[in-house]
Assembly symmetry: C2
């Protein structure tokens, strides 16, 4: 059962997602930082994700390309500021359809009662950029991604 | 003459500095991305800056160490998301005295009437982090840095 929460206070630069997973945090951290794992859950359900680059270390780059069933292609890239196993990942994020617009994303993992609690906070260069991301359907994309991650984790 | 402006609206994640320089933007961009140049102007006037790393390209890392006349040492580091000569630099920034607290800084340069107009926008992971940076004397540090950059640019 999904417990995804999305908080985006009006007039701020921030979106915060929280979600829990029925898996230890080592496994969840690995699902976010291993290229093969990411390819199997990241993005919309109606889309295949190619992980073109993913090097989870300070200065490492990442680039994901999503291809949907209508032939649409959406690419994203950024650099890792930090990847501290199994607790925290900090990276930049840019959608190549809106070049030059960058956000800083911080994901932390806490383990409680055998479950992993994720907090995923993004800060945008402007409130307008943040509002644009909300309007783009980011919330449903995140929900689909997180459900696919649940399925991936259930397979062990 | 300094025209430094600092805007930090209450309750937001952002600080925006604007400043102009009497130099073409090629020269200003180089002053921000060349290790020897940065060492000669970055930081407080009462401090020497060692540029331990500076590779201005996506995924490149930077690390600056400031040493003041009382023996105090303050180090900072991050990674470049982008460095697009001569118009834009986007990087992460972490003060090693507060590990784990990261901001995203975007600096843009525009040339008008022979002067370069800089906009330097930082977004923090939280409003509390932003307020902490303001309380730390960041504004006077920025003013001293910018004045030293003026002096550096005047030498050509």
């Amino acid at each position: 059962m999904s417990d995804l929460k999305v908080v985006a206070d009006p007039g701020t630069h921030e979106i915060v997602l929280t979600r829990s997973f029925d898996a230890p945090r080592d496994q969840v951290f690995k699902a976010f930082t291993d290229p093969d794992a990411v390819a199997s859950w990241w993005g919309f359900r109606d889309s295949k994700t190619e992980v073109a680059e993913l090097e989870a270390r300070p200065g490492g780059r990442w680039r994901f390309v999503g291809r949907d069933s209508n032939g649409g292609e959406h690419a994203f890239h950024g650099v890792y500021h930090d990847a501290v196993a199994p607790e925290r990942i900090v990276y930049t994020f840019e959608y190549e359809g809106m070049p030059g617009h960058v956000l800083l994303e911080t994901i932390t993992f806490e383990e409680r009662d055998g479950r992993t609690h994720m907090t995923d906070s993004s800060v945008f260069q402007s409130v307008a950029d943040r509002d644009g991301m909300l309007a783009s359907g980011m919330e449903s994309g995140a929900a689909e991604s997180m459900d696919q991650l649940d399925d991936y984790l259930a397979k062990g």
